[in-house]
C-alpha cells in the first residue's frame, strides 16, 4: 500500500476517532436526541441509559467499583480544574497545602498557580533525570496542612509512568486526597483506581480514540468518600459536581472508545511498543549524540522523545512538517521562548531541551510509516547538523561549555 502523507505521529496531542466509536455516537445526534436528565419520558430514559452505559464502560477501563464515581466534564483540562479547585475549596478548613510535581501538564500547573494567588501553598516536587518522582520526596514535602497530592500518572512529553500505587498508598497512610492526571495513560496502559489507591482521576476521550469535547473525573465514593466543591452551578447534574447537560453523543463515543481500548489493551500496547522500539532503534543507530528522554522502561508504549544534540527542535519539525506531524519541546514552537519545562526539569542541558522531538504512535500507525519517519528524521537532522556551528565546534574538539557565549 502506498504511504499516505502527511503521517500523524503526534498522538499525545489528540487521536483520530475510532470509526466504531463514531458509529455508536451517530444515532444520538438525531433520532436519540433526548436529555439524560428528562425523567418523565422515553427520550430522556433512552439518553440516560446511553450515558449510564458509557459511564460503566469508562468505569470498567479504570477499575472503578461504581460507574456513579465518574463525572463527565468537557475534557481533561476541566477534570483537572474540578479536582484541584474542588478539593482546595472543600478542604480549605483542613489545610491550604498542595503537593504536586514540576512536570504536570499545563492545566495542573496553571490551576496550582491560581490557587497560590488565592492563598494556597504549593510544593512542586522535582523529578529525577528519568522523569520519575520519588514517593519519598513526596512524603518529605507533606505537612500537617497538606490536603491534596496531585501527581500525573504518565507524562505527556516523555511518557514516564510514575509509581502511582506507592503514591496512593502514601496518601492513604496520611489521610490525604490523591489526584492523578491520567490523560495520557488511560486506554494505553492498565489503570486501576482501586489497586493504585487513586481518589481522583482525570482523563479525556480524545486521547483514546474518542471524540473531543468530553472527559471525565473519577471521584472516589468509598474509602474515603471524596467531596468536591463544584465549579459550575446549575441543574445539579453529575451528582451536583458538574451542572450542565451531558453531551450524550460525545459521552457515548467516549464510552465505546473506552470499551474498545479495554478489550484490545494488551495486544495494542505490545504492538505500540514494538513500533516504538523499531522507530527508536532506526534513529539511534544512525544518529550519534541523540539521547532518549524519559525512563527507558517505565514509559508509555506509544511515546518516544529524543534530543538531537546541536540541532534545534523547531528546525527539525520544519524539515518534516509537510510529511510528518510531530511535536517539539523547542522554545520556538511556543510563544514563550522558553524550552520545554518538562525536559528542563530532567536536569539535562538547556541546549538539549531545545533539541527534543516527540514522536507519538497510535492505533493506526504502521511499520511503513515508522520506517519512513525514521529515515526522514535522520536525513533532516544530518542536514541541519551540516549547517550547525555547534556541531562544527564539537567535531573540532571544542567543549561548548568552555565558550563564553554572548547571550542577549
Amino acid at each position: 500500500m502506498a504511504l499516505k502523507l502527511p503521517i500523524f505521529m503526534d498522538s499525545q496531542s489528540t487521536t483520530p476517532v475510532d470509526p466504531r466509536a463514531l458509529d455508536a455516537m451517530l444515532p444520538y445526534f438525531t433520532e436519540k436526541f433526548g436529555h439524560p436528565a428528562s425523567r418523565n419520558h422515553p427520550f430522556g430514559w433512552e439518553a440516560e441509559a446511553a450515558v449510564d452505559r458509557a459511564r460503566g464502560e469508562i468505569a470498567a477501563l479504570i477499575g472503578a467499583r461504581d460507574p456513579k464515581e465518574l463525572v463527565f466534564t468537557s475534557g481533561g483540562t476541566e477534570a483537572i480544574n474540578l479536582a484541584l479547585k474542588g478539593v482546595a475549596e472543600m478542604y480549605r478548613e483542613k489545610g491550604n497545602h498542595i503537593v504536586t510535581t514540576a512536570i504536570e501538564q499545563r492545566a495542573g500547573l496553571d490551576v496550582c498557580k491560581r490557587l497560590e494567588r488565592q492563598g494556597f501553598e504549593v510544593t512542586y516536587v522535582a523529578v529525577g533525570a528519568d522523569g520519575l518522582v520519588d514517593p519519598e520526596a513526596i512524603r518529605a514535602a507533606l505537612t500537617d496542612k497538606t490536603i491534596l497530592i496531585s501527581v500525573m500518572l504518565a507524562n505527556n512529553e516523555i511518557g514516564t509512568i510514575q509509581d502511582t500505587a506507592s503514591l496512593g498508598k502514601l496518601a492513604k497512610e496520611k489521610g490525604i486526597v490523591f489526584h492523578t492526571d491520567a490523560t495520557q495513560a488511560v486506554g494505553k496502559v492498565p489503570v486501576d483506581v482501586e489497586a493504585m489507591g487513586i481518589d481522583l482521576l482525570s482523563c479525556t476521550s480524545h486521547m483514546l480514540y474518542g471524540p473531543k469535547g468530553v472527559g471525565a473525573l473519577y471521584v472516589r465514593r468509598k474509602g474515603p468518600r471524596v467531596r468536591l466543591a463544584p465549579m459550575i452551578d446549575g441543574g445539579g447534574h453529575e451528582r451536583g459536581m458538574r451542572s450542565g447537560t451531558v453531551p450524550v453523543p460525545l459521552a457515548v463515543g467516549f464510552g465505546r472508545a473506552a470499551a474498545l481500548a479495554h478489550e484490545g489493551m494488551g495486544e495494542e500496547a505490545k504492538r505500540m511498543a514494538a513500533l516504538r522500539d523499531r522507530l527508536q532503534d532506526a534513529i539511534l543507530s544512525k544518529v550519534d549524540e541523540a539521547y532518549l528522554n524519559g525512563h527507558p522502561e517505565r514509559r508509555l508504549p506509544h511515546n518516544l522523545n529524543i534530543s538531537f544534540a546541536y540541532v534545534e527542535g523547531e528546525s527539525v519539525l520544519m524539515g518534516l512538517n509537510k510529511e510528518v506531524a510531530l511535536s517539539s519541546g523547542s522554545a520556538c514552537t511556543s510563544a514563550t521562548l522558553e524550552p520545554s519545562y518538562v525536559i528542563s526539569a530532567l536536569g539535562v542541558d538547556t541546549e538539549l531541551a531545545h533539541s527534543s522531538i516527540r514522536f507519538g504512535l497510535h492505533r493506526f500507525s504502521t511499520e511503513e510509516e515508522v520506517d519512513f519517519v525514521a529515515r526522514r528524521t535522520v536525513e533532516v537532522v544530518t542536514r541541519l547538523r551540516e549547517m550547525s556551528p555547534l556541531y562544527e565546534l564539537a567535531k573540532e574538539g571544542v567543549d561548548l561549555k568552555t565558550i563564553k557565549w554572548k547571550a542577549e
Partner: protein, 138 residues
Amino acid sequence: MAYSDKVVDHYNNPRNVGSFGKDTPGVGTGLVGAPECGDVMKLQIKVNLETGVIEDAKFKTFGCGSAIASSSLATEWLKGRTVDDAAKIKNTDIVNELKLPPVKIHCSVLAEDAIKAALADYKEKWSQAEAGADTSAS
C-alpha cells in the same frame, strides 16, 4: 505557525552555508547567541583587502527555521557590499524581507548582531592591511 514563502525557501535552500578559515586574510568571524537560548549564529565575511568589498560570506546556524533564514539572507545581502555599507543592514530590513512574525524578531536581531560581530572581528584583524586605509598608507 505558518512560515512565509521566503523563510521556507531559505530553509530548504540555504545560501552560503559553510566556513572560512578564521585566520584567512580578509576574513571576519562573528559568533553570537547561546546554545541554552536555542540560537547560535556563526557568520563570516571575506573582504578583498584591496577594495574593501565583501567578496564572499558564509554562515552556520543552530536555531529555528527563521534563524536559519535570517542568517542565510544576511549572507546574500553582505556579498558585494563594502564594509561600511554592510554595517547599514538593520534587523528590520530582515524582518520585512522575510515577513517574520513578532515572536521571531529576535532571529533578525541576532542576524544583525552576527553581522556587526563579523565586521568588528574583521576590523580588528585586518583594517591595518587594507590598501586604502589612511593609517597604513602613511
